[in-house]
Subunit: 137 residues, 2 copies
DNA sequence: TATTCATTTGAACAGTTGTTCATTCGTTGG
DNA sequence: CCAACGAATGAACAACTGTTCAAATGAATA
């Protein structure tokens, strides 16, 4: 396997030599790193990041966090630069991702952000606080 | 404008009536929300979320954080399920986003995560700590 | 029941993205 | 200089995504 050969040359470059078993030891180290890395959480986490990676959706989350009250589609629509259909699509995606919650009242639908959304927003803006409480599953 | 009409009906539904100026007041409130929302930070933040929205890239960041040492492409490649070219592309994207840093040494390139990457990972995993230090603009 | 309304949903389109393959770039050593 | 090597880069392709338009829901009202 080419991978092992390359790892062997890496060890030689780093340590000057490579004894029998050194490659296996490095591979064991790497597997230990992999175990600690919690890659099983990646699908869930990537879905959250993905939901926040579109500017329209991120703007909506920002607006919901900034408003200290729930907002409905018709209040959000004039604040972002897309059609109300696009706002609805965005809110649907955010709801599926667990970043906003919806309340129905008559013909109106009120949206508010979850704590997870606020925590991610704080993290990306570089704020070091921990408004996140003991959130989530 | 249809937007203002809808806002007027919203006020009527919420308060029972809508006096002259109420719509303008609501619009003013919404604009104030928009000001507080820091939407000017959205392009930067969305780029960060976007960089972490692909499973390969997120796995790589996890691995770099879990390793308490720098890793090179040849160490990462066996831990993720793509070609080393894809790993290199992913690292390039992450570097551009400011989520990993690169160190050159001979033929090898060593990568390590930035504090911002660690902070976002902690946030998405639901940890309420603040390893992020006083980072960033 | 029929109409109006706020919102949702589905289809369709252009634009974007993650991957692999092939090539190129720097570096090391003969 | 030449060959070998780790890594980066570009082209190409399939897969995906955000938007709008048009139509459908479900609730209020006449």
């Amino acid at each position: 396997m080419a991978t092992a050969d390359r790892l062997e040359r890496l060890i030689v470059d780093e340590c000057g030599s490579c004894c029998d078993g050194d490659v296996d030891a490095l591979i064991a180290d790497l597997n230990a790193v992999c175990d600690r890395a919690r890659t099983d959480r990646t699908p869930t986490a990537a879905a959250l990041f993905d939901a926040l990676s579109a500017e329209t959706r991120l703007d909506i989350v920002r607006l919901l966090v900034a408003a200290e009250d729930e907002l409905c589609v018709c209040e959000l629509e004039p604040l972002v630069d897309v059609s109300d259909s696009a706002v609805s699509h965005a809110l649907s995606t955010l709801t599926d991702a667990g970043l906003v919650e919806r309340r129905k009242e008559g013909r109106w639908r009120y949206y508010r952000p979850t704590e997870r959304a606020a925590a991610l927003l704080a993290a990306v803006d570089g704020e070091a606080d921990g408004t996140a409480g003991g959130a989530a599953e």
